[in-house]
Symmetry: C2
Subunit: 380 residues, 2 copies
């Protein structure tokens, strides 16, 4: 689908195209279901020097995107003005796979047909097309076997998992990692990257009706053990169980995206000289750690934020994208469970706005148990 459309666009790439694009925008911070709307905006002209025109193939909705729209996230988007559209606005979305459709003068590293992801943060990916500076784009190798979905979701969660596993503790084959929120997108990436490296994972998830199905799913990804937070209630029993699994080996890396009491209990499973890394706060509660863990067990507690690591680290980032692309192309990293929601080109802006708000309403009430990916068709 994507490739076909592309070749069609390339036919016109040297002429000024009269077409319309669509963007999902907001003018003020607030709940996405209240403030987002779809707008039709004029098509792109010929790209200015040092820029490329890109067409978005797939644009994921990540949890942090909601915080950005609410105005509570440290990374702030810039307002975009759309010639001919009323006023200016913020375009939603931070992650996305796009294809280069045209390049301006002086662009050296990109050509029409290339796949790119966003190097700059908060470019606004929930739209059909955009003109972007070359230095804000990162080329993704178009390898056989690398799916669009994998490429579209490779810039946030898998690199986070990669950094969590590699920046804090030198993990040898056979080492153990414990994590909570294990069925989240980062958690699933951790499971797979750890398995690829011969590292074992102890994975905590919330108890639920279909816990056996979830356990099987995570084990299929490579999870060594999947346990519910409930089991953390009985410290002695869970410690004995974990000791049996690890053969008494100290667990030296804990990954936390939850917070609250269960995180404290999980930290209690760590051995001496361990590192606990917080990268999320699903429970919206602080991370309470007993002083004795710090003092006597020499625990170190860190945070990880991908945007900080990305800053000024283009080289590491390019290497990582290439490594992830290869891993994915080899079938060693599954696509996240996902649902692609298409805003079709025939749809009116009013109807599209309703669709988008409906998506965020459903998301806010936990209605999706998978990654939601937008496909905003252009009306050209």
């Amino acid at each position: 689908m994507f490739r076909k459309r592309t070749s069609c666009v390339r036919l016109f790439s040297t002429s000024v195209r009269i077409q319309a694009n669509r963007a999902i925008v907001y003018s003020q911070n607030g709940q996405p279901a209240d403030v987002l709307r779809a707008v039709t905006v004029p098509g792109l002209g010929a790209p200015p020097p040092q820029t490329a025109n890109v067409r978005f193939a797939l644009s994921p909705i990540n949890p942090a995107d909601v915080n950005v729209i609410e105005g509570v996230y440290p990374s702030k988007p810039r307002r975009t003005s759309f010639p001919g559209a009323r006023g200016d606005a913020f375009v939603g979305g931070n992650e996305g796979l796009a294809e280069v459709t045209d390049v301006g003068e002086g662009v050296r590293g990109l050509a029409p047909g290339d796949w790119v992801v966003m190097k700059a943060s908060q470019v606004g990916t929930w739209r059909s097309a955009a003109n972007v500076r070359e230095d804000q784009l990162l080329k993704v190798p178009r390898l056989d076997g690398l799916s669009e979905v994998n490429a579209a979701t490779m810039a946030v969660n898998p690199p986070t998992a990669y950094c969590l596993l590699s920046h804090f503790v030198a993990l040898e084959r056979g080492a153990w990692v414990v994590q909570n929120g294990a069925n989240g997108a980062v958690g699933q990436a951790v499971i797979q990257l750890a398995r690829n490296a011969g590292v074992k994972t102890l994975n905590f998830v919330r108890s639920r009706d279909d816990i056996d199905a979830l356990r099987r799913e995570l084990e299929d990804l490579g999870a060594t053990h999947v346990v519910t937070y409930d089991e953390l209630g009985d410290k002695k029993s869970i410690k004995a169980k974990v000791n049996g699994w690890t053969g008494g080996q100290d667990i030296r890396l804990g990954l936390n995206c939850v917070g609250g009491e269960s995180t404290m209990a999980m930290a209690g499973l760590l051995g001496s000289d361990a590192h606990l890394v917080t990268y999320g706060a699903m429970a919206k509660r602080p991370v309470p750690i007993p002083a004795s863990f710090y003092i006597f067990k020499n625990l170190t507690s860190h945070g990880f934020w991908l945007s900080r690591w990305y800053e000024g680290n283009d080289e590491g980032r390019i290497k990582l994208v290439e490594e992830l692309a290869r891993t994915m192309a080899l079938g060693k990293f599954k696509e996240p469970k996902h649902e692609i929601l298409t805003i079709e080109k025939e749809t009116s802006d009013e109807h599209a706005s309703g669709l988008i708000r409906g998506i965020f309403q459903r998301m806010a009430s936990g209605g999706f148990k998978k990654k939601v990916i937008l496909k905003v068709e252009s009306s050209d």
Copy 2:
């Protein structure tokens, strides 16, 4: 006093002395006021090879000593058997200044008259004399101007303060440190060592009736500002106040010996890339830190335990003792506020036991607001 007594002992150092010593011991873990007793034990014979006989001058009671007696501290003492006394027991006390009275064959680094502190932990310092292996002792330079009290209290709190200030953040002159429990022994040491290095301290203490006197006292030691935990209740106001003091400079080191909500609020005063170091838990509550501090402000949370640093680090330790001794001898590090409680040689064991238990009862109810130092006289 101490020097006189010493020279007297040295007159007899080549003969086998018939004398009695006293030790504060316990046979089982429990509350100090319940389990401690004073026992008279035979005098020391000639020291075996590689050992020294030492006479304790001053032996502080530190908070951790209580935890050791309760059996809840990770460092465990070994039972000591006293020839002639009934059974064996643990001798209380971890810190103390002693004078070498006699040395066995093969002792190269010590001579009678030398001052020593304990290199090994949990040697049992609450006694009048002991025979100790040379490698468990650390010589303290007997500098003019170095008081007995300073030397007796130099092995635990000042080195902790020194490590807290030097192991986690490179503090330039003019940098800021924030700490709670600032009127504790470590807190006071932090204030003085920071002042000596041109580093500014923001010191939190509990509010109390004599808060003005305490503020003056800490300012006399070199505290830049002294603030009560109450002020942490209004985040905006305290942030504005602190910003005014620091001129907007980020505070990159926080020292915590309390825990609980006020520690979370104090951590909120730290800037980006800061380090929070926990070395105590006076509030007996976990350290709750919001995930956002870790993720977006790149906070790192550590623990510090002096015993771990001491392990296998004799060289660093010797250097530190020498540096502290010089600093103290120059009058740049005041004696802690203290009370010396003497167990006199004429006192019966029964009476002495009652005294000791009384001290710990008073201590448990917060009756001392200063360092308590034991002086256990021998009945020779």
